[in-house]
């Protein structure tokens, strides 16, 4: 299980725009590099990232090899109701990872 870090205000006010910072450990091998002996290193990246808020999709990103290792993505959403934020990363070679954060809206 890959290590993922999520930073979000746990007690936002209703209607407030909250910042969500996500970071996941992943090498993001581009597929354009070679070893010393000249063999190509196959691509191994995270291709999609989706964030849902109580089941509703609030953010989706398609990632390319130009994203740095350990993809860090910051975005915003409106705190509507208390509930769960779920984050899901999927990538090459059947890679999946997910993380959940509960927020209580005041």
């Amino acid at each position: 299980m890959a290590r993922a870090l999520i930073k979000v205000s746990p007690n936002p006010k209703r209607g407030e725009v909250i910042e969500i910072k996500t970071l996941i450990s992943h090498e993001m091998e581009t597929g354009f590099r070679h070893t010393n002996t000249g063999t190509a290193i196959p691509r191994d990246i995270i291709t999609t990232f989706v964030a849902t808020y109580n089941g509703e999709e609030i953010f989706a990103a398609q990632l390319f090899p130009a994203i740095a290792a350990n993809p860090f993505i910051t975005f915003y959403t409106i705190a509507k109701e208390s509930g769960t934020l779920e984050f899901r990363w999927t990538g090459d070679n059947g890679y999946t990872a997910s993380e959940q954060v509960k927020i209580a809206v005041e």
């Binding site: 390319f64 090899p65 130009a66 290792a69 910051t74 975005f75």
Partner: protein, 167 residues
Amino acid sequence: MGETGKHRAGQATSSTRREVLRFASTVALGGVLPSLAVRPAAATPATMKSAIAAVIGDAKLNAGRVKLEIPPLVENGNTVACAVAVESPMSASDYVKAIHVFNEKNPQPNVISVKLGPRAGRPAIATRIRLSDTQTVTAIAEMSDGSFWSHSVNVVITLGACLEDPL
């Protein structure tokens, strides 16, 4: 007389030898250059244009409303902080649908494509990207009314990512 003649003859042969060597070296260089050129095909401004065309289609690309924040001088292209913010009220009828980031000279023109909706509240993203060379990075925002807005920034890279990575 005979000696100078000999000497001249020697000069003549040595100059031709030099010429032969020079010719040989250019041939050798010519032979080396194509093998140097065998690298992953880098994206060019043209491929960036075609990648942008694939996203926006026939729509007009306007300048403005988008702010791409990226340092103008970067020491290490492996991680470059990159933030995009768009001016939009983000109401139910007028919001930012998508943000795309493109580059000119990485092996691939795409960097990231993001889908947003009115629930985003603030149409802004931040991430860290790789840049292989000194180049122009372009951010494009797609609005709910179908218009496209862009902002380009020229970034100078001291140490590029991707190909120069030591292993």
